[in-house]
Symmetry: C2
Subunit: 207 residues, 2 copies
């Protein structure tokens, strides 16, 4: 069980937490997840294991903090587009969706350093569950957005579309980040092509 960490009472504590999290993140970028030991994190952060355990009840809690930072970066983007007024026609929706996809892509780019964390996360059932719950939320936001655009769209199809948009985006942008910028940009365009085709096949909007 991943408990919440102890609340720090002095200011230096917050810095410690930050140093621990940063050290863990950097280590995941440098080496294998397997080498991410609590002792190593403490050493890299320039403190002792004992101190580390004052802020995090266990190793998973450190990963949890990283994962939540990653997940939190996406929420506002989805929420913003889902809250926009209904577009009048396909062109309007398409413009929004295109902008949305590019914003999501840029969130990936900005959080590049957290990417190995996602991989590490897969090894932990608890963290997987948290990510899955988060995804469910995003999917429902997407679904609501699509149903706002086309009120005729059945809820189950809207959910499926939300899921496919989320998952294909996730995998494509993850891969894209490992390539050079030219390919990265091309992949964004490709994702837009794919997802727009998918949505156009299901959403009925005037041209």
């Amino acid at each position: 069980m991943i408990e919440a960490r102890k609340k720090p009472r002095q200011q230096r504590s917050q810095e410690m937490v930050e140093r621990i999290v940063t050290a863990a993140r950097d280590m995941l970028n440098e080496q294998e997840f397997k080498g991410l030991t609590t002792n190593a994190i403490a050493q890299k952060a320039g403190l002792s294991v004992g101190s580390l355990y004052q802020y995090f009840p266990n190793k998973e809690a450190i990963l949890l903090e990283l994962v939540q930072r990653w997940l939190a970066a996406f929420r506002p983007v989805s929420a913003f587009y889902a809250a926009k007024p209904r577009p009048e026609n396909w062109t309007g929706f398409s413009r929004d969706f295109c902008a949305f996809t590019r914003e999501i892509a840029s969130v990936y780019a900005q959080n590049r350093a957290l990417l190995p964390t996602l991989e590490a996360m897969q090894s932990h059932p608890e963290l997987r569950r948290i990510a899955k719950d988060h995804d469910r939320g995003i999917i429902e936001t997407h679904a609501a957005w699509f149903r706002n655009a086309d009120p005729q769209l059945p809820a189950d199809i809207a959910s499926r579309l939300g899921m496919l948009v989320l998952e294909t985006g996730n995998i494509c942008f993850t891969i894209a980040l490992m390539r050079d910028d030219t390919v990265y940009d091309a992949i964004i365009d490709d994702v837009i092509i794919m997802n727009e085709a998918l949505l156009r096949a299901h959403l009925r909007l005037p041209e």
Copy 2:
């Protein structure tokens, strides 16, 4: 380092190997990867740890066997479609691609039991490398197929398309397998919509 396993000289040995592999596969389907210990596999397979280590030099080798069985299931499908003569027009290509996608989807369905293996694989650098090498091969096969259809298609774009088709298919079918049959079928259709749109945007073929 994952060495090749010792070659069995008696017939019962092959059965042992099969029992070990099956036990490991079943365990991954039942519980967390974390609980997959060599002792537990041996017990489930009805033999001793000592015997297990006679056929597999280490734990990773067991996973490797599972992973290779998974990967091997896909090769013939790609190879078959890539070797077909050039389609005359988009309709011909589209028909092939649609059939191809459905066959790939059915390979996923048939190898459902190996799915948790892929997840477990992510924890092992060596196995990840093997899968990545395999993927590269598939991607090149796809790329060759697309360039056969449209010889004008630049090699780098062909590779990118191959990669996107592979990766989006992989993630979508993996998710699809966790849903009921209705959703599964719908997702296959959706993947076809997405990938055809992508290819149509880049391949120049007469209608």
